[in-house]
């Protein structure tokens, strides 16, 4: 899961810093950035001074500060402020562009994170590398295994032990501006054909091996997670043929879609919901030939400097009343039936957020092997440098 | 008004102002063809500005400069028939000696054939005795050699007028004297008009056949070196050109009797037409006779030697005379008996009144008017 955005919300100081840090690292981009520069920077820095106001003590000593690694605009900003008011712990938010990048940081060590948000297919690797701890569910009373949909939670458990708790799930489809593209699209095969035809110079694919290679494979009738060299060679041939016709290879597609520089893009659920809400002619489509379904989890790094606060925040986020605000803010579907009951009807009935079961059937979860397969990484490099 | 046919350079009422500062004030000047003119004066006197107006690097604020009879207002440097030897030479560091000298010839239109350029550059380098140095880089050359390259680079273009901006200032004394002779010889052989800017009066007197003394943007005196030295037009010229002793005195109504500060009277021999009143008497150090022994009633002034500077062929004495101040006296050892006077000894000083110059006291207001004149 790479970049997720909420273009319409006014950017907060915290959000600005998140964006700024993300941009500095060179993972791609945000348009809010321009409007929020200048004085915004100073404001952002000022408001980040932690522990200025102290608040009631928790049962355990949580310290005054912790940090979380997550995705851009993936939380209700009020969540962390409320958490601080309740516990006195200021939360520093680090945002990332890809799971690979998160993994690279954790492998390098000394991240300082006490909580992070990995996607389903990476958890086995984190476990294998010994980078995450088994969760002590006794410290997470707000979590209710019974109300979770096992379809979206199973990858958090390894050998019967729980290593990660689900945050939300989602899909990877594509968004199409139907005022520009008249041809009806229903599959990834259509996507790559129209990208070379009616949407020549106007289509975007992710700068992300899992979805870009996976969707290309699917369009060719191959397995989304394939690492077979012969499959990858076919996907590479297709991608390199399409490349001259693309507008960009970039996981930050909302600005270009909103400016109608791009007419069509690979897209995640939450972005699709946001684009469609603001610009109704932009439709979100799931490939009938396949695509990705995913779950994002919360996990605690083994070397977390403040595990107590990490647990406290995770427990806080598992509270349905808190989670409902998070889902309202980021637009992604919940895995927890308690939250589903609390969500407003217009969200639950939105077919982009909660598609029919039939539409989900052809989708696959990403496989752990794609994360570390050198063949897919090299394919991506050849595609981008072609 | 000079005639265009005779004069290579003519200044007609030329004024040059930089904002509120006037560097050159209403100068008129004619330089005949083939002359060696020295513009002499202290820094800031306007001599360099005059040279740069001939070269075309400055345009007069009013008036006009003519070269070989043609008005030069608005004519850029690269269209003028003059060449300049710059202070510090301004040789092109990225070219070798040959390329430097050939530079002017390469600019000429119609183009000069490469063979011809090579020949003329070779000749020019021979002329300045740098025959074997064509391929040297500039930074490999000594100061004196660079000076010759600069000269060759200018002369190879056969200009009507050669401008020299303090050309010898960067050379040591011995090399400087050698170059002075060389420049003079070159000028005579080529018959080109030379205009030299210098603050060194010795250099001006020794090389030029026409000296123009400038001060405060104006010409103080223009004449042959000998005239300027022997008959300075005013106290400034007397001071700046050579060394001078001053005596402040009062001229009586008869125009020939001077009342000295010690109360004595001095007859200057002939009536001077400068009006009675406060007067400065100027006398060259070599015009003063120094006689050992200090009989109080002898001829001239009694004094005491305070310093002696032995110069080989001559000796300079500093003599303190009560009520009149310090005097500088040059004794020529070839005409004197050759016997040196020791500091502390009493002496008498005398001079021929006809060799003394009298200037009205107003001229003495010059700040440079110190007792011993301008040293170089």
């Amino acid at each position: 899961m790479a970049n997720r955005h909420k273009e319409n919300l006014p950017i907060t100081a915290q959000g600005f810093m998140d964006e700024f840090m993300r941009l500095k690292r060179g993972s791609v981009t945000r348009r809010h950035f321009l409007t929020a520069t200048g004085l915004g920077l100073a404001t952002a820095v000022m408001s980040r001074v932690p522990g200025a106001i102290s608040t009631p003590a928790y049962a355990e000593d949580l310290g005054s500060q912790m940090s979380i690694a997550t995705w851009p605009n993936y939380h209700d900003p009020a969540t962390f402020e409320n958490f601080k008011a309740a516990t006195g712990v200021a939360v520093e938010v680090n945002v990332f562009g890809s799971n690979e990048e998160m993994l690279a940081k954790l492998q390098a060590g000394a991240t300082g994170w006490s909580l992070f948000v990995p996607t389903n297919y990476t958890i086995a690797t984190y476990h294998k590398l010994g980078l995450i701890d088994e969760l002590d569910l006794a410290k997470l009373p707000n979590f209710s295994a019974a109300s979770e949909n096992p379809r979206f939670t199973k990858e958090g458990q390894i050998d019967g032990k729980t290593y990660a708790l689900p945050k939300n799930w989602g899909t990877t489809g594509f968004a199409v501006n139907t005022s520009k593209i008249k041809a009806p699209l229903t599959s990834w095969k259509d996507f790559f054909e129209i990208a070379q035809g009616e949407a020549d110079g106007r289509a975007m694919v992710h700068d992300y091996q899992l979805t870009t290679i996976g969707s290309a494979l699917v369009s060719l009738g191959l397995d989304f997670n394939s690492i077979k060299p012969e499959d990858l060679a076919k996907a590479e041939e297709l991608l390199i043929k399409v490349k001259p016709h693309l507008f960009a290879i970039n996981s930050d597609y909302q600005p270009a879609m909103r400016a109608t520089d791009a007419w069509m893009t690979m897209c995640w659920t939450n972005d699709g919901a946001q684009l469609n809400r603001d610009i109704p002619e932009i439709h979100y489509i799931l490939g009938k030939d396949g695509g990705e379904i995913w779950t994002d989890y919360y996990a605690i790094p083994k070397d977390a400097p403040n595990k107590a606060a990490g647990y406290a925040l995770l427990n806080y986020l598992m509270d349905p009343k808190v989670a409902v605000k998070e889902h309202t803010a980021n637009g992604a579907p919940t895995t927890d039936s308690r939250v589903l009951e609390l969500l407003p009807k217009e969200i639950v009935s939105n077919k982009i957020v909660y598609p029919d079961e039939a539409a989900l059937t052809p989708l696959e979860f990403g496989a752990a092997v794609t994360l570390t397969d050198p063949g897919r990484a090299e394919l991506m490099a050849r595609f981008k440098s072609a | 008004m000079g005639s265009a046919a005779r004069d290579d350079i003519e200044f007609r009422s030329v004024t040059k102002a930089y904002g509120a500062v006037t560097a050159v004030r209403n100068i008129s000047l004619n330089v005949p063809k083939g002359a060696f003119l020295a513009l002499l004066g202290p820094s800031g006197c306007g001599k360099t500005t005059c040279l740069r107006m001939i070269g075309g690097f400055e345009q007069p604020t009013s008036g006009e400069v003519l070269i070989a009879g043609s008005g030069m207002n608005g004519v850029p440097p690269y269209r003028r028939p003059v060449n300049m030897v710059f202070q510090h030479y301004a040789l092109f560091p990225h070219f070798n000696v040959e390329q430097n000298v050939a530079y002017g010839l390469r600019q000429m239109r119609p183009r000069i054939p490469a063979q011809e350029i090579k020949r003329r550059v070779g000749e020019a380098l021979e002329m300045v005795r740098l025959g074997g140095f064509a391929n040297r880089r500039i930074h490999e050359m000594s100061g004196g050699q660079q000076q010759r390259v600069a000269l060759a680079r200018a002369l190879v273009n056969r200009p009507s007028v050669l401008l020299l901006d303090e050309p010898l200032a960067a050379l040591d004394k011995k090399l400087r004297s050698a170059m002075q002779i060389e420049l003079q010889t070159l000028q005579r052989e080529l018959g080109i008009t030379f205009v030299l800017v210098t603050h060194d009066q010795e250099e001006a007197l020794s090389m030029a056949d026409l000296v123009c003394v400038m001060s405060g943007g104006a010409i103080k005196q223009l004449g042959a070196p000998q005239d300027v030295y022997d008959r300075p037009a005013d106290l400034f010229v007397a001071d700046f050109v050579g060394k001078t002793n001053h005596i402040q005195a009062t001229l009586e109504a008869d125009g020939r009797t001077l009342r000295l500060p010690d109360g004595s009277a001095l007859d200057v021999g002939a009536e001077r037409n400068i009006g009675a009143g406060e007067t400065t008497l100027a006398i060259r150090p070599e015009a003063i006779r120094l006689t050992p022994g200090g009989e109080p009633r002898g001829e001239g002034f009694a004094g005491t030697v305070t310093h002696r500077i032995f110069l080989g062929s001559s000796v300079e004495y500093s003599v303190s005379v009560p009520a009149l101040g310090d005097f500088l006296v040059t004794a020529d050892r070839s005409t004197d008996e050759g016997q040196l006077v020791e500091p502390g000894q009493s002496v008498r000083l005398g001079f021929d009144p006809a060799a003394a110059h009298l200037f009205p006291a107003s001229h003495a207001a010059q700040p440079e008017g110190n007792t011993h004149g301008q040293q170089t």
């Binding site: 321009l34 600005p255 520089d261 490099a381 | 690269y78 930074h139």
Partner: protein
């Protein structure tokens, strides 16, 4: 003793933040990628043998960097010339600071501004109003070049300005005095003598461009792939540290060569060894 004490912090800083990391990168470059990514010790030349896998990125970088530097030069030289030679000396410092001031803003912010200007709501929209429809500027090689010229302009202007400012004006007068038209003086004297500054600027801009990844990413739509982008991907996406290190070591070697060649040319033409890198 005092010198050693004064130099101590700087030397320590260099060792800790420059020498040690570089040694680490050299060590990594002979290692192997661990199965889950990262580095595992080994002694193999496999990473260097595999450099060909990024040949396209090297080729892109080694063509666009000099082209970018030259484009930068074409814009920077007249500006530097104006500042150093033509501008009123009273306003010179003000004008020079105007060149430098944009540098105080993050390169990222300035590049973002261009993204907006070149995007569909920017210049193409204005062109559309006057009848040129469907002009695409963003995510083209031209946009990348524009971003490069814009972003690196001060680095090119300043060294050229310095060498033009140091240029002895009497040389220009001497050239004019010897009959050279201002045009000939410019190309025969001014340009060769400002070459140390020009080469410094070209070296600086080229070297930085060899490591550039932001501008191709933002203004090239990720379709223009530089060595810098390859490095970012190798370290942050595929976590192939040994291969990334081998590329970084190769890049450093290329940079050193560029520097040596640039300095050699400048020395030769300007006839002096006084060529300084700012």
């Amino acid at each position: 003793m005092v010198t050693a004490m004064l130099l101590g912090p700087a030397a320590a800083w260099l060792v800790v933040f420059l020498v040690l990391p570089f040694i680490a990168i050299i060590v990594f470059s002979f290692g192997e990628r661990a199965p889950e990514g990262g580095y595992q010790p080994a002694f193999t030349l496999a990473q260097f043998a595999n450099l060909g896998a990024r040949a396209a990125a090297f080729a892109n970088t080694l063509t666009l960097a000099p082209i970018g530097a030259l484009a930068c030069l074409l814009v920077a030289y007249p500006v530097a010339y104006y500042l150093a030679v033509k501008a009123d000396p009273r306003h010179r410092m003000l004008l020079v600071s105007l060149v430098v001031v944009p540098f105080w803003t993050s390169m990222l912010v300035r590049t973002y501004a261009w993204m907006y200007l070149l995007g569909g709501r920017g210049i193409p929209h204005l062109l559309d109003l006057v009848g040129f429809s469907d002009v695409r500027l963003l995510n083209t090689p031209g946009a990348v070049l524009l971003g490069i010229v814009y972003g690196y302009l001060p680095l090119m202007i300043l060294p050229i300005y310095v060498s033009l400012e140091k240029l002895d004006r009497r040389l220009l007068e001497a050239s004019a005095d010897l009959g050279a038209h201002p045009f000939s003086t410019f190309f025969g004297i001014t340009v060769p003598l400002s070459l140390p500054g020009v080469m410094t600027g070209i070296a600086l801009v080229t070297i930085l461009l060899l490591g550039e990844y932001l501008i191709p990413q933002l203004l090239g739509g990720g379709k223009v792939f530089f060595i810098g982008n390859a490095l970012v991907d190798l370290f942050l996406q595929s976590r192939n540290w040994p291969f990334g290190s081998a590329i970084a070591v190769t890049l450093v070697a290329v940079v050193v060569m560029v520097l040596l060649i640039a300095m050699r040319i400048a020395w030769r033409v300007a006839g002096t060894r006084q060529v300084d890198l700012m």
